[in-house]
Symmetry: C2
Subunit: 242 residues, 2 copies
C-alpha cells in the first residue's frame, strides 16, 4: 500500500535516459557521427553496454532523441505568443520571427554538424517524433500573420521549412569529426571548393566556372538569410499580384 520512499528509489539511480542522450550529444559533437557507439557511450557513462537498453530501446531511438533535444533547444520559446493578425506591423514581426527560428536551426547545425544528416533522416520518418512537428509549428505560426490566405498556409510553410532544412544541411561542416568553429578554417574550405569548381571542365560546367569566385567570397549565414528573404518576397508577391 505504501509507495516506495524517495530514498530507496534514488539509491542506485545513476543512469537515466536524459543522461544518456546528453552523453550521446557530447560524443557526436566532439568525435563525429561515426563515434557514437553503444560501447563508447557505456564507457563514458561507466556502465555496461546492456544498461543503455534499459533506457533507450535502440540506436535509432537514441539518435532521434539526440536530434530532438538539440532541435528543441535551437527553436525559440514554445509555443509562440499569439498575436492578432490585424495588428499594425504584424507582418513585419512575423517575418522577423521566421528569420529568428531559421537562424536558430542554422546555428544549431553549425554547432552540431551531425545534425545535417540526422535532420534528413528524422524528417523522412515524419511525422513520428517531435522534430518535424516542432519545426513546422514554429514556422507555420508565423506564416499565419503574413497575410497569406488560409488555403495557402500549408504550402507556404512547407516551402519555408524545406528551404531551411535543405540550406542548413548543405552548409554544414563537411567533416565527420569534431566541430570546427574557426572562421579561417571555413574560408580555407571555401577556397578549395572554389578551386575544385574552377578545375572542372569548362564546357560541361560553364556556370560553375563563372561563379567560382563569387562562391569563394560569400558568407554562408548571410546568404542563408538572403534566401529566406527571397522566399518571403515571393510570398508577398503571390499574395498580392500586381
Amino acid at each position: 500500500m505504501t509507495t516506495p520512499t524517495p530514498r530507496s528509489r534514488r539509491r542506485r539511480q545513476v543512469l537515466s535516459r536524459e543522461r544518456i542522450v546528453e552523453a550521446a550529444v557530447e560524443l557526436l559533437d566532439t568525435a563525429g557521427a561515426g563515434a557514437l557507439t553503444v560501447r563508447a557511450l557505456s564507457d563514458r557513462l561507466s556502465t555496461g553496454s546492456g544498461a543503455i537498453y534499459h533506457h533507450v530501446g535502440n540506436m535509432g531511438e537514441l539518435l532521434q532523441a539526440a536530434t530532438e533535444s538539440v532541435v528543441a533547444a535551437a527553436l525559440p520559446a514554445f509555443p509562440a505568443p499569439r498575436e492578432s493578425a490585424t495588428d499594425p506591423g504584424a507582418e513585419d514581426t512575423g517575418r522577423e520571427r521566421i528569420r529568428a527560428a531559421a537562424l536558430g536551426l542554422y546555428d544549431a547545425v553549425a554547432e552540431h554538424p551531425w545534425l545535417a544528416v540526422q535532420l534528413a533522416v528524422q524528417v523522412t520518418r515524419s511525422p513520428w517524433g517531435t522534430v518535424t512537428p516542432r519545426i513546422f509549428e514554429s514556422i507555420g505560426e508565423c506564416v499565419r500573420t503574413l497575410g497569406v490566405p488560409r488555403s495557402g498556409w500549408f504550402a507556404t510553410t512547407s516551402t519555408l521549412v524545406h528551404y531551411i532544412l535543405g540550406a542548413t544541411s548543405q552548409n554544414a561542416q563537411p567533416s565527420d569529426t569534431a566541430v570546427l568553429r574557426d572562421g579561417a578554417q571555413r574560408a580555407e574550405f571555401l577556397d578549395s571548393a572554389s578551386q575544385a569548381w574552377k578545375s572542372l571542365d569548362a564546357d560541361d560546367y560553364p556556370f560553375l566556372h563563372d561563379i567560382a569566385d563569387q562562391m569563394r567570397g560569400h558568407d554562408d549565414r548571410e546568404q542563408f538569410l538572403t534566401g529566406i528573404d527571397l522566399i518571403l518576397a515571393g510570398i508577398t508577391a503571390v499574395g498580392r499580384p500586381s
Copy 2:
C-alpha cells in the same frame, strides 16, 4: 610494344565498377538502404566479397557512385543548350527548365527513396564528387536567363538548390524497405500523419491542429512545384522592386 588484344583483355572480365554500381542501385531500390552490404552485393554478383574492393575502394565510395549515377540520369541533358538572355521569352523558358530539372530530381527520389538521405550526405561532402556540381550547374544555367544581376547568381541558385534538396528529401517515402509507388499507400500514409498531428497537444501545436486536414488532402508533387513558383516569384519581385 603491342597492346593486349581485345580477346585477352575480355577473357575473364566479368566484374566491373559499372556492374557493381548498377547492382548496388538495384539492391538499394528493392530492399532499402539497410540491405546494401558487401556480402549481399557479392552474392548477387556471384563473386567473393574481396572482389568488390578491386573496383570501388570502399562502401562510402560505392554509395557516392550510386548516388551520382542516379542523379546524372535524373537531370536533363547536360550541358544545357545555350540561349541568349535577350531572346524574347527567354525568362519563361528559363523558368520552365528550372521546373523540369527540379521535377527530375523529385521523381528520382520518389523512385529511389534511399536518395533522400544520400543526397544530404553527399552534399555536405561538397564539392567533391559530381552530385553538387551537376545540380548547381543545371539550375544555375537557367538562373542566368532570369534577369537576375550577375552579383545575385550564386545566392539565387543556392536558394533554389537548397529548396529542391530539402523538399525532395522530406517528401521521400518514409520507408527503409522497397519502393512503394502505389498512390493509395501514399494517401494512407498522409492520413495517418494527419491523425498524428491532430492528436498532438492543441496548446503546444495550434498551427498543426488547424492544418492537419489541409495536409491530408495535399498532392506532394503539385505542392513541390508551388514552392518552386513561390521562389521564382520572389526572384522576379526582388529583381524588380515596385
